[in-house]
């Protein structure tokens, strides 16, 4: 990694860049991992607020892992408080046109199955898998976020895929 010219991120321009770059991605991570119930958006904001408050202590190259760790911890605290079982994902059906009603119904059914199957994944499988499939992140990137090896990420994603396929077939 090229050595940064900034010692820390107490620079509004720099902070803004980091913000633009990682905000959506942190939000998505928390969303996939914990669902929508515990307000991942709030926690994302809080994590970035903390980052700015502690800007003097955080090096630019560490900023991303800093907010991800903080965001994750904030969510975990919230989970502890609520003990919520996390199964969810709001399906947003697209307004299909010129499709037969039968096809639409099948499609709807498929989505519901998929939703259930995703809910049945373990939290670690679901997070890695959804970040990979929906956010289009490579194994290496996910590994960096989750702080595990790429191999482990690969295994999780593969296992998640296998589980989903099996469950959908079964139903």
């Amino acid at each position: 990694m090229p050595k940064s010219i900034h010692e820390n991120i107490c620079n509004e321009g720099l902070f803004s860049k980091i913000f633009q770059k990682h905000y959506q991605s942190l939000y998505a991570y928390l969303y996939y991992k914990f669902g929508d119930y515990l307000n991942p958006e709030d926690k994302t904001q809080e994590a970035f607020t903390k980052l700015w408050q502690n800007c003097g202590k955080v090096k630019p190259e560490k900023a991303k892992s800093y907010v991800f760790t903080i965001g994750n911890n904030l969510m975990l605290n919230e989970v502890k408080h609520h003990k919520v079982v996390l199964q969810h994902r709001q399906v947003k059906p697209k307004a299909h046109t010129n499709e037969s009603p039968e096809f639409l119904m099948q499609e709807q059914e498929y989505l519901q199955k998929l939703q259930r199957a995703i809910g049945n994944l373990t939290e670690s499988e679901r997070t890695a898998f959804l970040m990979n499939r929906i956010e289009g992140k490579k194994h290496k990137e996910i590994a960096a976020i989750l702080d595990i090896s790429s191999k482990a990420v690969e295994k999780r994603i593969y296992r998640a895929l296998a589980k989903l396929r099996e469950e959908i077939k079964e139903l």
């Binding site: 959506q24 958006e41 970035f48 607020t49």
Partner: protein, 299 residues
Amino acid sequence: MTREELIEKWLDHSLTPEEFEAFKQLEDYEELTKMNAALQYFKAPTVDVEAAYDAVQKPIQKDTSKPTSWFKPLLRIAAILVIGFGAYLYSTIPNVTLVETQVADKTAIELPDTSAVTLNAVSSLSYDEDSWNENRKVNLEGEAYFKVAKGATFSVVTNDGVVTVLGTQFNVKQRDNLFEVFCYEGSVKVNYNDNPVVLKPGQRFLILNGKQIRNEKEMLKEPSWIRNESSFKSLPLQEVIQEFERQYNVTIDASNVDTSEVFTCSFTHTDMEMALQSITLPLQLKYQKKQNSIILKRD
């Protein structure tokens, strides 16, 4: 390349174009792409990054006003000082309780150690509640009857003298020219002009116009005024009249009468007519009532 490898590469978004062609040929291809397409419906909602940035920045910018960094610690120090000073004042300024009675009024007080005090009309009693446990001391002006709970020395401070006891029943009466202590139970020490006198039950200590007057022993259970009757034994009419004024909220004009005449009588606090008669009949006096004033005349 095997099917597994292709899928894994697909999962890592790292298929080369040739590999992708091979992947397309797999029987899994359709299922996987269908699922992949469907999965996009589960995408996390897009957040408004700009709005979020503003939200994060706003509270922060207030914090970054560095020039006042010395001000906050100073405020803290000041707050601590103020609290400390307040606590000091609060703990050192005596927490004085004052009880006062008006004309024709009596009141019963219970002191912190359950000692009971009955306060006669136009009297006041004060004590410091905070230091009560170390120092049982009350200040008295007027007349009061004490039933003191056993314990440390209990003192009644009056303008005329200090009465100290350990646990007894006694009455203290301190009026203009009169200072009287009567002991009903236990023993009472009266300190008048630095001359301590110890009273036993039934004994009376009386100072009238600065002179001590000897009295014989009288066995009484409690002062009569507790039962709404004032008794006087060999006292000048002046004292009787003053007490009457305190009990009935009237002024008595006794300018035509010799008020230094000593006599013994008692009057009730509940019936003015009767009370007047019990004073005037033995002395062969006549009285005339005018609203709130009474004129005494020789017969």
